[in-house]
Amino acid sequence: MRVRAWSAWMASTLAVAALVHVGSLYALPYLVMHRAWSLMGDRNTMHHGARADANSRMIVRPSPDLLYSTCPYDLSKGPLEVRATIPHDTYWSVSAFDDDTNNWYVLDDRQTEHSKLDLVVQSPDHDKEVAATEHRLVVTSPTRRGLILIRTLINDDDRLDAIDRTRRLATCGLLPAGQ
């Protein structure tokens, strides 16, 4: 009887351990992303971070060779519009991440001939499709909340100021009604 009772307690302990392990495994990305999203500043606004150094503590493993611009988005009030100037003399990309850390969209400077980016991000439960045009890309986020990240490579330290000025032209905000 004692052995059977001991086995039952062991089994229940292991069952709890398995549930906690699986639950924490799935919760971790969401919690980490939500923390980063909360720390990045105002929603639907582009934030241009300083060049990463040893004092950069918001996102792990930053590259000191890239300039990062971030826009934490919340599509509950409508689509987001991201505008940027695309440099074609260095690596540049715009990427989007859902609230579970997945990189669901990326476009780099070699994948477009345009010098300007006009990207509209729609909510997964949008009720009116925004029309794409020759100059406007329209994509649908898998989640209402997420993050836009623009990377610009500093391919020449002597050109840092010019590269920084160009990437600071990037903006994001709610798409004006009627557009």
Binding site: W9, S12, T13, L14, A15, V16, A17, A18, L19, V20, H21, V22, G23, S24, L25, Y26, L28, P29, V32, M33, A36, A52, D53, A54, S56, R57, I59, V60, R61, P62, S63, P64, D65, Y91, S93, S95, F97, D98, D100, T101, N102, N103, W104, V106, D108, R110, P142, L147, L149, L153, N155, D156, D157
Partner: protein, 190 residues
């Protein structure tokens, strides 16, 4: 022991065990689908919605906002090419040729996954900054002993190196475990 205290002990032990398993497998362990190319490790599903829960959780902790492999392949080394753990008390040479990518960099990170403080604010070598020999090869030093060029400073703490390949070439994309990547050779320890 009565039923209620037994239940509490069982629940507490289960929670502790479950959290330890997460810590051991994700926070303090490599991803289960990692590929190795010498000392360099990568995963084919970094950044992808197809990644499993272990890889996704590991990326959230150690590489949040990583791009998917079509855009960038990230390799990380926690050991040198002989398999010994990277140690800040030692100096290393990174020797090789440019990897097959539009742009690459190798950056040192402390055990906390952040850039390592150093007096010259230098954290990486890259395709743009590395100085090469006449045959195109390069050799860079990693350690606390100062060098004028091709130097990634570290402190005496454990560290790791991340190799980023932006717009990786077709050969790296198709066979990331067979890519021609730099070797990491231990030179001396103090």
């Amino acid at each position: 022991m009565k039923f209620a205290p037994k239940l509490a002990v069982s629940a507490i032990a289960g929670v502790a065990l479950g959290l330890f398993a997460t810590w051991a497998t994700v926070i303090h362990g490599p991803g289960p689908d990692a590929l190795a190319d010498g000392p360099w490790r990568t995963s084919l599903t970094i950044g992808s919605a197809k990644s499993g829960p272990y890889t996704r959780a590991s990326v959230a902790i150690h590489g949040l906002l990583a791009l998917n492999r079509s855009e960038t392949i990230y390799y990380t080394a926690f050991t040198d090419s002989s398999g010994a753990a990277l140690d800040g008390a030692c100096t290393y040479d990174i020797v090789g040729h440019d990897p097959d990518a539009r742009w690459w960099s190798i950056t040192a990170y402390g055990a906390d996954d952040y850039l390592i403080p150093n007096p010259v604010d230098r954290y990486s070598i890259s395709k743009n900054s590395v100085l090469r020999a006449s045959d195109g090869s390069f050799s860079a030093s990693v350690g606390s002993a100062a060098h004028v060029q091709n130097w990634i400073p570290t402190t005496r703490e454990p560290f790791s190196l991340t190799l980023r390949l932006y717009n990786p070439g077709a050969s790296v994309q198709s066979e990331p475990a067979q890519a021609s990547l730099p070797v990491i050779v231990k030179e001396a320890c103090s």
